[in-house]
Symmetry: C2
Subunit: 110 residues, 2 copies
C-alpha cells in the first residue's frame, strides 16, 4: 500500500539510497548489491527488506538467487506527495536553480 512513513524512512539511510542507485542500472542479486559495501550479507538483506516493505523494490526468484529491481510506483507516490510543494519551491526557482548547481558540486548526491 506504499505508506509515506516507510518510504521516507527507507530513504533516510545512505546505504539504502546507494542500493537504489545501483538498481537504476538494472536488476541485481544480493551478492552483486553487496559487493561495493563493507557490510555483512545479513545487514544488506535487512536493508533490502526495508526497501521492499516500503514498496521501493521487489524481488524475483531465479533458482537460488533473488534479483531485486526498482518498483516505480513508490517513486510516483513521492512525486505525487511533492506535488503540493512544487508551487512553493518553483516560485523561487530562479535562485534555486543556482543553489542546486552549487549543492551538486559540494554534496554527495546519492
Amino acid at each position: 500500500m506504499v505508506k509515506l512513513d516507510s518510504v521516507f524512512h527507507a530513504l533516510a539511510d545512505p546505504t539504502r539510497r546507494a542500493i537504489l542507485a545501483r538498481l537504476i542500472e538494472g536488476e541485481a542479486t544480493v551478492d552483486e548489491i553487496r559487493e561495493p559495501f563493507a557490510m555483512s550479507q545479513p545487514s544488506i538483506s535487512r536493508h533490502l527488506k526495508v526497501l521492499e516493505q516500503a514498496g521501493l523494490i521487489s524481488a524475483r526468484i531465479e533458482g537460488t538467487s533473488r534479483p531485486r529491481r526498482i518498483e516505480p510506483v513508490a517513486f510516483a507516490v513521492i512525486e505525487d506527495w511533492l506535488e503540493q510543494y512544487r508551487a512553493i519551491w518553483q516560485a523561487n526557482y530562479a535562485r534555486l536553480d543556482e543553489v542546486l548547481t552549487e549543492l551538486k558540486l559540494k554534496d554527495d548526491a546519492t
Copy 2:
C-alpha cells in the same frame, strides 16, 4: 547544507508532514501549528527543530513568537534526487497514473 539523510528522516514522521502541510498555507506560530494535534508543546517544538535542522523550514523572530515557514531549497533537493528515478517511473507512466488515482482515493496523502 541540506543532507538527504536528515531530510528524509524528517519526512518519515506523519506529524512532521502534517506540520509542513499546514505551512503550505503560510507562516504559523508554534501555538497555531500545535492546535490540531493532541500533543504537548515541547513535542511539537522538537518536531519543528527536526524540520528546521533538515532545512525544510525556517524560523523568524517576531516579538515573543517565532513563526515558521517552509524553506523551498530542501524540496528542490528532493526533487533533484528524485530526478534520477524519473526515467524509470515515467516509463510505466500510463499504468502509474491510474495507480496514483486509486492510491489517492484510498490513502491518507499527508
